[in-house]
Each structure stands twice: as structure tokens, then as C-alpha cells.
């Protein structure tokens, strides 16, 4: 059973795409235990997947021996996740906007846009190898959840 109290965990996983599956499972269970709605779960799940793929593919260059560290804390009103890879880092401000021009037709380059769209706070460390993301619980959804619980 997942505790309905603020949860903080730190997990280190290898740079294999499937390694995020278990982490997502843990995070989603914590969100549900804290009555985050389905939109919140979808948003956080998507941000986790996209950030992890970026960390594995671009940060750690797909080398399974390099690790990705994930720190997350879930409280009653928000979730905060940090994800750090062992790469050299990058400048997120130079990533082209995938919504315009020829970029719209490119098969890649949408991960960071999605993360920024679904999370309330997105910031990188100075080196550019660690992303911090925060999502606030959607109020309308949380009140619906409360109503469903009959409280």
C-alpha cells in the first residue's frame, strides 16, 4: 500500500529505455495515493518518459553503463521530480521549436516542448544535465476526486 503522506525517494537506474517503467509505476502510485487526478497522472507520466528518453539518448548517449538518477517527492498539492544524467549537459534554450517551419515535419524534437507544456516549473542546472520539474495538483480535478470520495 502506498502511503498518503509526502513521499520522497531517490532512484538510480541504468540507461536502458525500459528502466523508467518501474519508476513511473512508483510515482503514479504515489500520485494516486495523494488523490491527484487522471490529467495530473497523464501529465507527470508523459514528462517522466520524455525526460528519461532525453537523459538516456542525448545525455548518456545510450550507454547502458551510465546511470540516470531520479529524485522525486509527492505531497498533497504538488509533485517535484529531478532527473540527472551523466552526460556533458546541453543548453535547452538552443533547442529549436518543433512547432514551426520544417521542424513541424521532423520526427523528433518534441520531448522538451511536451515537458514544458505539462509541468508548471521546468528548469535545468547550469551544466544542463539535470532537469527539475514541478506540477501542481489540478484544483478542479482534486475537488472532483474529493466529491467522489464523499467527504
Amino acid at each position: 500500500m502506498v502511503a498518503k503522506i509526502p513521499v520522497s525517494r531517490s532512484i538510480v537506474v541504468p540507461s536502458t529505455p525500459s528502466a523508467i517503467v518501474g519508476v513511473c509505476g512508483q510515482v503514479i502510485a504515489s500520485l494516486e495515493a495523494n488523490h491527484f487526478g487522471e490529467d495530473d497522472v497523464f501529465a507527470v507520466h508523459l514528462a517522466l518518459e520524455e525526460a528519461f528518453i532525453n537523459a538516456v539518448r542525448h545525455g548518456n548517449k545510450g550507454e547502458p553503463g551510465r546511470a540516470v538518477k531520479i529524485d522525486y517527492s509527492v505531497g498533497p498539492d504538488q509533485i517535484e521530480v529531478s532527473m540527472t544524467d551523466e552526460g556533458d549537459g546541453f543548453d535547452p534554450d538552443v533547442i529549436p521549436d518543433p512547432r514551426y517551419g520544417d521542424n513541424l515535419f521532423k520526427p523528433a524534437g518534441r520531448g522538451l516542448l511536451l515537458i514544458r507544456s505539462y509541468m508548471n516549473v521546468v528548469e535545468y542546472n547550469k551544466q544542463g544535465n539535470s532537469i527539475r520539474m514541478v506540477r501542481l495538483k489540478e484544483q478542479r480535478k482534486s475537488s472532483k476526486t474529493t466529491a467522489k470520495l464523499g467527504t
Binding site: 529505455p17 517503467v21 487522471e38 508523459l46 528518453i53 518543433p98 515535419f105 518534441r110 520531448g111
Partner: protein, 128 residues
């Protein structure tokens, strides 16, 4: 040995080739690679294919899945075919809107709507 579960179901309905994604989530690199092989195989089997992709079962997808759709779209239109998407859940439609892919994909509410939008000519290459 575990049974092999198909990633897509393919149905030929008069003018159209309807491909339904079998999984709720289109996420992992390996799954996307398998899906790409399956879809490219369908597209590669006929000129001017009228492809309808049915997302009815799909509840979650990543940007990698969007990349797959773009690659399939290029292949379809290179062969003078047509591509329609349908039965996309509101949450996934939001992903298409955020990325502005609603500008390049033709999205319909359901399979009949998608099929009705297809051109009348050149639709019969896969008729059975």
C-alpha cells in the same frame, strides 16, 4: 514460450486499410520499432493506400510515437496515398494540439468519418 501479441489489427474495408493499434500505451522504443515495421509493411504493400489509423484503444503515447506517425505519413504521401487518424482520446488530442501536429494530420472522430473523407478514386487497391 509466450504467445506473440500483434501490435496492430489490420482490416480492409472497401476503400480503406484500417489499422487499429492494439496496445493502450505506445511508448517503448522496441514497441515503436515493431509498430513502424508493421505499418511500413502495410503501406508498402500497395500504391495509393488509403490508411486509417484507429487510436480507439490508445490511452497514452510519447513523442517517439509522434515521430513514428510522421515517418508513416511521409511514406504514405510519397506513394500518393492518404492518411487519416481517428478515435483519438481528448488527452492524446491535446498532445497533438500542443505540438501543432493537428496542422499536418487529418484527424476524425471515428472510423466512418475518416473513411468518408477519403477520395473516391484510387481507393480500391486493397479491396477484398
Amino acid at each position: 514460450m509466450a504467445p506473440i501479441k500483434p501490435k496492430v489489427n489490420v482490416e480492409y474495408s472497401g476503400a480503406a486499410t484500417i489499422v487499429t493499434f492494439a496496445d493502450e500505451k505506445i511508448l517503448e522504443e522496441r514497441d515503436i520499432q515493431e509498430l513502424q515495421e508493421a505499418l511500413m509493411s502495410v503501406v508498402g504493400h500497395s500504391e495509393k493506400v488509403n490508411l486509417v489509423l484507429d487510436f480507439q484503444k490508445v490511452q497514452f503515447l510519447s513523442s517517439a510515437a509522434l515521430g513514428l506517425l510522421i515517418r508513416v505519413s511521409k511514406k504514405v504521401y510519397e506513394q500518393d496515398g492518404q492518411l487519416r487518424l481517428c478515435n483519438i482520446s481528448p488527452r492524446i488530442y491535446e498532445v497533438f494540439k500542443i505540438t501543432r501536429l493537428t496542422k499536418i494530420f487529418e484527424i476524425y472522430a471515428d472510423v466512418p468519418g475518416a473513411m468518408a473523407s477519403l477520395p473516391a478514386e484510387g481507393r480500391g487497391t486493397n479491396e477484398q
